[in-house]
Symmetry: C2
Subunit: 227 residues, 2 copies
Amino acid sequence: MTDPCIICVAITGSLPRKADNPAVPITLSEQIESTQEAFEAGATIAHCHVRNEDETPSSDPEKFAALKEGLEKHCPGMIVQLSTGGRSGAGRARGGMLTLRPDMASLSVGSNNFPTRVYENPPDLVDWLASEMKTHGVKPEIEAFDLSHILKAHQMWKDGQITDRPYVQFVMGVKNAMPADREVFDYYIRTVHRLFGEDAPWCAAGIGPNQIVLNDWAVSSGGHART
Amino acid sequence: MTDPCIICVAITGSLPRKADNPAVPITLSEQIESTQEAFEAGATIAHCHVRNEDETPSSDPEKFAALKEGLEKHCPGMIVQLSTGGRSGAGRARGGMLTLRPDMASLSVGSNNFPTRVYENPPDLVDWLASEMKTHGVKPEIEAFDLSHILKAHQMWKDGQITDRPYVQFVMGVKNAMPADREVFDYYIRTVHRLFGEDAPWCAAGIGPNQIVLNDWAVSSGGHART
Ligand SMILES: [Zn+2]
Ligand SMILES: [Zn+2]
Ligand SMILES: [Zn+2]
Ligand SMILES: [Zn+2]
């Protein structure tokens, strides 16, 4: 438990806009500036989304390329993690940026409900995203919105679809998916240890008001944190 | 642990055909005959799907009405549970039979992956199916394909969307959803006890070759069984 805590900074996210919070970095220069501040404050992973001019989410590889290049220049050594999440694109457009060979990318391995819709990650898309990550040497961060997603990551690792021991992020507090439940959180940790080893790293993210709760739980339990 | 074990007989299912197993009851008379045999052998819940002439799944309320009437006549006192599962119809067509006021109906409260596709249960459809069951006095059986589905059932009970204490079925062994994992099975039981009380009943179903495994686990752990 004396390992340093890794802080992953989700600088922009897929949804929040200036109208929600004027501090949300939307433009490329805002994103680079914000990430550099976080990097200098100790964050070592940047979880990245890109946006269109009108602030709507995008998965345009050119936008991701520009952001990645800017971060590599201004935050040397910081780990760049690009989102392949479903809010920014559909189908294989979600993985078009993987040829940029970022250090990491998020990977959802199952489907679940979101507040008003189904978060669709069909099996063939999951397989394709994982194979693209493997081909291009991108380390996945498994987004576990539910327990079976951790077991699915284990199966994919055993089957060779994931090269290294999976790095899992527990996502809690999404309405209609997994709530921020401490008992489940502890069981998630036990499951990661059972499947991936007692020394397996993991991280946790809480949505909205659950963010600080999950940060507290994760840091005090030997996990890593997502802002 | 001295309560009698409830055996729920899934006579037809949504998918298997005569070509897979000539013993699968497809026609109305086959379904009634098969259920009666199971009833006389001790099964007390009939989990029902209906089929078209060509064996494809249907959610036609008239077919369900004929089956329900036949079962009530030939298996007096048997609990009739109609499926609202997504393999037999789409959207609100999945709940058209609820006005028949069967004793029970299956209710999926979240989404998950199936072997080759997403099993879609969008939040608005879940809410509508639950409200139809409440309106027509139908007791839901919660189909838990993943852990969050048990917590969602708890939330729906607290919110009044489910009237009685939820009766949960653990579904394991579906590829790309929850595998038949004994540790998770035991945690499911603990979660049911934590959320619904130490005396809360539950049941379990295994898919394909996992069926007999889950029957064994359930019966030996104080749960109820689905054939
Ligand atoms: Zn440690
Ligand atoms: Zn993200
Ligand atoms: Zn008992
Ligand atoms: Zn069924």
